[in-house]
Symmetry: C2
Subunit: 589 residues, 2 copies
C-alpha cells in the first residue's frame, strides 16, 4: 500500500495516528539536528520531520534527497510547534520512521512552483513538469469539472450525448480540413471534422430530439497567437424549438456552470441585436464590463468646414472618463500611432480634452469652443474627461473605435477579474458579401436559416435583397469573448439548395458534399437549431485568463507542433506505400 | 412554440387540457367518420383523433398524410374509450383542433418499427431513418447514460477527465496507424492515437494522480466482422497504486454501472489466473454463465494403445450434460466437421455417450467399457451425458476445446440473457514468443511491468527465462467478452529500456518513438497502473447483444466506409499540393 492519506488530508484530529503518504519532494530544509521535507501530491503538501537523535541513518538519507524525488514514508502525526496557517495541513507534521525512495529525479529544468522561471518552449517540452505546477494543474482540474457539470445539466434536460465520427468527408468550404489517407480505399481520404454540424442535424432528422457532445474539432489553419489545430466544443442541437427555447436552455446551462464551478450567480442575460452592438460598441462581441459607448457626431461635426469629417461617412467617438490630465500631447501621439498600426488601420485620431477652464482639441482650429461644447454635451462629458473621435467609412470606423474602446478599457483597468458580463447578440445577417472573392459567404454557416419573414425574399429576391437578410443566429458573448454561437437551421431541401446556390456551390458540388443532408431533409426533417460553445475559451474566460493554452493538457505551438513528443514527424516509407501516396519531389530533396 | 408536452407525457390527469404536440406520423387508421394518427417522438407515442363531424377539412387533410410526416397539432386531451394498456399514454387521446404539417416525407425505404425489413446496407445509407427505430435509439440513449454514470462515478473518486491530443506521432509498433499529413510541416505526418497510453502515463508523471477519459481511438486494421476503425475507450490511470487498488476501483465502477443503468446488483467478482483460465476453459476470457469445465485425461487415455492419443501432448474433454440422445452419428459427424474448419483446425473429435445401458464411443475399438467408465467417473458424468474429447498439442487443443465448449453452450442455450458473470483474469505472461517473426511480443503492451519478483530475472535472465515472466496484467471478462484490460506499468527508465530491447527495438528506434516517455521517467515518475474498457463492447455485452454496431450512431462498414456520407472520398488536387503529397501512379491510372 502506497498511502493511507493524501498530502492534503491530515489535521489536528489525526494526531497520534500512524500514517503512510506518497508524493514528491517539494522542498527540504536542514537544521542540523532536524531535517524538514515538504511532501507534495495533487491534493496538497504535508510537512515531514526527520530527527538525527531518533534515527541518524534515516535523517542522513533524507538529507541527500533532491527536489522532485518520489517518496513513500510512514510515521506518526504530531502537532507542529510552528504552525502554518496558509496550508490546510499546516497544524501537523509527520515524524518519519520509514522511508522508501520510489524514484529519483534529475534536477528539473525549471522551478516547479506557482511562478516559474521556465520559458514557453521549455515548459512545453517538459509539459509533465509544467503540469505539476499548481496553477496549471488546477486549470486542468477546472476543465474536468466544467465538462462534468455541462454533462450533468444537459443530461438532466433530456439531452443525449452522441459520439459522432472523426473519420468523415472533406468539404473544401470553410476552413481547411485535415485529411487522412485511406489504406483500404486507396486514393481516397477521410477528413477530420471541423465540427459535427451535419451529423448533429442528421441526429435531429433521426428523432434524437436533444443532442449534445463535448467533442474535439480540427482546423488546419495558420495558427494565430491563440488558436489550436485541435480544439474542443460543447456541441448541441435541439428539435422542435424556436430561438427563444435555445436561448433559455443555454442561458440556463451557463448559469449552472458559473454557479457550480465558481459559485457565481449570473442574473438574466441582456440581449442586443447585431446592428445595435455594432452601433454602440463597434463589435459583435462587446465587453460589457464597462460602458464607454459610442457617441455619433455626424450632425454636429460634419459640414463645419473640416474636410476630413465632411468627407467621412461617420464621425464617432468615445469618452474616457477622467483621462484628460493623464494624456500629454506625446501620449496622444503614441495612442494615435497605436491606432495607425496596420492591425487597426485608423487614419488619425481626434481628441477633445474637457478642462475646468475650457476645451482643448486637436481640431480646435476647425471648431469653435461653442461647437466643441455641443460635442461635450452629446457625450455627457465632465471636466477631466477625454473624448477620442474617429471618422471614415461606417463599418471600418466602428471597428477601429471598438478596438480603441477596448484599449482604453484595459488602460483604465475597467475589466475587473471576477466581474462577468454575459450578453446574447441576436439577429445576425444571413450572408456577407465578400468584395475580394466577389461572392457571398455564410455569416454563421451554410445551414443557418433566414428569419421566417425573410424566407420569401431569400427564395425570390434579387442580389441586393440578399445583403439584408437576417438570420435567427445568435452568439453568447462573455466579457468581450464569443463563447458560443448558433442558429436555427434550414430543414427544407429547397431552401437549403437555394442557400448553396447563393454561396456559389454548383448543383454538383452541393450534391457531392451535402447530398446526404439534403436527402435526409426529404424524409421528415423536424425544425431544429443549436449552438456550440468553444470549450477551451470558456475555461479561460471563466478564469479571467486570455490564453487557452494553459487549459489544454498538451497544446501545440504556433507551428502546430507538439514539443513534448515532437510531432508531426516523418513516417516510414512502407506506410506511405501502403497508403498509395508519395511525398512530392520538392519536399524530399 | 412547438409543443407543451412530449408524446410520452399525457395521462388521465391531463384530461380536458389544451395541449400542443409535435412529432412524426407513425401510423394512421381511417374509420370513415374518424381518423386516428399515432404521433411519435423520441419519448413515446400519443394517439390523435380527427372527426369528420367536428372538422371536415382538418379530417380530410389528416387522411392525406403519409408515414414519417412531421406534424404540430393542438387539441384537447380526452379519455380513450378503447384503452391501450401497453402504451404509457394509452389511456388518453387528443382531439385535434389545429394542425400544421412541419415537413413532408417521402415513403421510407424500410419500415420504421422495432423489427425492420431493411437490410444492413440500406439501414446504413439511411442511418437517420434507422436511428428512428426504438431499439436503435434506445441503444444510443443507453450509451449516453453509461458514459454519464462512468463520469459521475470516477469523478466522485477524484479522477480528473483530461483530454489527450488526437494529432500525435506514428509508432509503427502494434497495429497500423492512421496518419495525417501536416501542411505546416510538409513531408511530416501526425498519427491518430491507437490509445492515449503514453499520454496517460505522462499525466501520472505530471502528478495528476487519477486520470480518466472516454475517448475515441483509431486503428487502421483490416476489419473483422465486428471491428471499427474508430472505437471508444474508457481510459484510466492511477498513481501510487498496486494491482489490488486498481481491481477494487474498477470492480466498483462496473458494479455502479450495472446498478445505475440496468438495476442489476453484481456480487464480488471472482478472480482466476491466466494459467487457470486456460486450463479450465481453454480461453483467457471464459464465459462463466455455464460450467462445462475441461477434464484432462492424459493419465487414463494415454498408453492404452490408441496412437492418436499416445502421440498427443494432451487429451482433454468436456461433458455436455443430457446431450447423448440429441446427437445422432450424423450430428456428431457435422460437429466434427465444424471443429475441422480452418478457423478452429481440430484434427478430429472423439465422443463418449453415457447411456443407462452402457457406453458408446467413437474410440470403442481402442478402449474397453471399463476403461471408458473411468473417463465417465473423471467427468462425473451421468447417463444421458455426452463427452467430447480432443487431443493434440497443449495450447492448440485447449483453444479448440474452448471453442467447442462455447458452441455447445450456445446449442444448449446456457448463455442466458440477463445473466451476468464477471471475472478478473490475472497474472498474464509479460512476453509472448512469436515463432513466425522469431521475436517477443508484448502480451499486453510494451509499457507493462513484470511482477516485482520477476524484475531481476527480466533484467538479467536468459532467453528462456523471458518466456516465463509474469506481469501484473489483468483483464476484466464479462460473459466471455474481454471488456477491460490493463496493467501496472514500468516507471523506471532502465527497465523500460530493457523491455524495448527484448521487443526488438534498437536503441535509436526506442528513443525516436518513446524517448519523451523514458525521459519523463527520469524526473520523478511515480509507480502507476491503469486499465481501459472497450466502451462499444461494454454497451453491447450489457445489453446481451453480440454486435457493437447498433451501439454506435454512425458506424462504418467492413470496408471502412461511412455509407451515409460516402466517405472516404477523393480530395481536390489543390489539397494534395498544399500537403506536399501525391497519389502514386498505379492509383491514379
Amino acid at each position: 500500500m502506497y498511502r493511507t492519506h493524501t498530502c492534503d488530508e491530515l489535521r489536528m484530529e489525526n494526531i497520534g495516528q500512524e500514517v503512510t503518504l506518497s508524493g514528491w519532494l517539494q522542498a527540504s530544509r536542514d537544521f542540523g539536528g532536524m531535517t524538514f521535507i515538504d511532501l507534495r501530491d495533487r491534493y496538497g503538501i504535508t510537512q515531514l520531520v526527520f530527527n538525527m537523535e531518533d534515527d541518524q541513518d534515516l535523517c542522513a538519507q533524507a538529507r541527500k534527497l533532491g527536489r522532485e524525488f518520489v517518496l513513500r514514508i510512514s510515521g506518526s502525526v504530531r502537532e507542529r510547534s510552528n504552525k502554518n496557517p496558509n496550508r490546510s495541513t499546516g497544524n501537523v507534521e509527520i515524524v518519519v520512521t520509514e522511508m522508501e525512495v520510489l524514484n529519483a529525479s534529475k534536477t528539473p529544468p525549471f522551478t516547479i512552483a506557482d511562478e516559474t522561471d521556465g520559458g514557453e518552449d521549455l515548459r512545453m517540452k517538459y509539459r509533465y513538469l509544467d503540469l505539476r505546477r499548481t496553477p496549471v494543474q488546477q486549470n486542468i482540474i477546472f476543465r474536468s469539472k466544467l465538462a462534468l457539470e455541462t454533462r450533468k445539466y444537459l443530461s438532466d434536460q433530456n439531452f443525449v450525448e452522441v459520439e459522432t465520427p472523426f473519420l468523415i468527408k472533406s468539404t473544401p468550404e470553410g476552413a481547411r480540413d485535415f485529411v487522412v489517407p485511406s489504406r483500404m480505399n486507396t486514393g481516397q481520404f477521410y477528413a477530420l471534422p471541423q465540427s459535427p454540424q451535419t451529423f448533429k442535424q442528421i441526429l435531429m432528422v433521426a428523432g434524437m430530439d436533444r443532442y449534445f457532445q463535448i467533442v474535439k474539432c480540427f482546423r488546419d489553419e495558420d495558427l494565430r497567437a491563440d488558436r489550436q489545430p485541435e480544439f474542443t466544443q460543447i456541441d448541441c442541437e435541439m428539435a422542435f424549438v424556436t430561438q427563444e427555447d435555445i436561448l433559455n436552455t443555454f442561458e440556463g446551462l451557463t448559469k449552472h456552470l458559473f454557479k457550480h464551478t465558481l459559485d457565481v450567480e449570473l442574473g438574466d442575460f441582456p440581449r442586443m441585436s447585431y446592428d445595435e452592438a455594432m452601433l454602440r460598441y463597434g463589435s459583435d462581441k462587446p465587453d460589457l464590463r464597462f460602458g464607454m459607448e459610442f457617441v455619433e457626431l455626424n450632425d454636429v461635426a460634419k459640414e463645419k468646414g473640416f474636410s476630413v469629417f465632411d468627407n467621412s461617412e461617420l464621425v464617432v467617438g468615445i469618452c474616457a472618463e477622467g483621462q484628460a490630465e493623464s494624456y500629454s500631447n506625446k501620449d496622444i501621439k503614441k495612442l494615435t500611432e497605436w491606432m495607425q498600426r496596420p492591425q487597426i488601420g485608423a487614419k488619425g485620431l481626434v481628441y477633445v480634452k474637457v478642462g475646468a477652464d475650457g476645451i482643448k482639441s486637436s481640431v480646435g482650429k476647425f471648431f469653435s469652443e461653442e461647437q466643441l461644447q455641443v460635442w461635450v454635451e452629446k457625450f455627457g462629458a465632465k471636466p477631466g474627461d477625454l473624448l477620442l473621435v474617429l471618422s471614415g467609412e461606417i463599418d471600418k470606423t466602428r471597428k477601429q473605435l471598438g478596438e480603441l474602446r477596448l484599449e482604453m478599457g484595459r488602460r483604465m483597468d475597467l475589466m475587473k477579474d471576477g466581474d462577468f458580463k454575459p450578453l446574447w447578440v441576436l439577429d445576425f445577417p444571413l450572408l456577407e458579401w465578400d468584395e475580394d472573392s466577389n461572392r457571398f459567404h455564410a455569416m454563421h454557416h451554410p445551414f443557418t436559416a433566414p428569419k421566417k419573414e425573410d424566407v420569401d425574399r431569400m427564395l425570390n429576391g434579387d442580389h441586393e435583397t440578399m445583403k439584408n437578410l437576417r438570420a435567427d443566429a445568435y452568439d453568447l458573448v462573455l466579457n468581450g469573448s464569443e463563447i458560443g454561437g448558433g442558429s436555427i437551421r434550414i430543414h427544407d431541401r429547397d431552401l437549403q439548395s437555394r442557400n448553396f446556390d447563393l454561396l456559389g456551390f454548383t448543383k454538383e458540388e452541393a450534391e457531392a458534399q451535402f447530398g446526404f443532408l439534403m436527402g435526409a431533409f426529404e424524409y421528415g426533417a423536424p425544425p431544429h437549431g443549436g449552438i456550440a460553445f468553444g470549450f477551451d475559451r470558456l475555461c479561460a474566460v471563466m478564469n479571467g485568463q486570455s490564453s487557452i493554452r494553459d487549459f489544454i493538457a498538451f497544446p501545440k505551438n504556433n507551428q502546430g507542433r507538439d514539443m513534448m513528443i515532437d510531432a508531426p514527424a516523418p513516417v516510414a516509407e512502407e506506410q506511405l506505400v501502403e497508403l498509395g501516396i508519395d511525398l512530392v519531389k520538392e519536399v524530399i530533396e
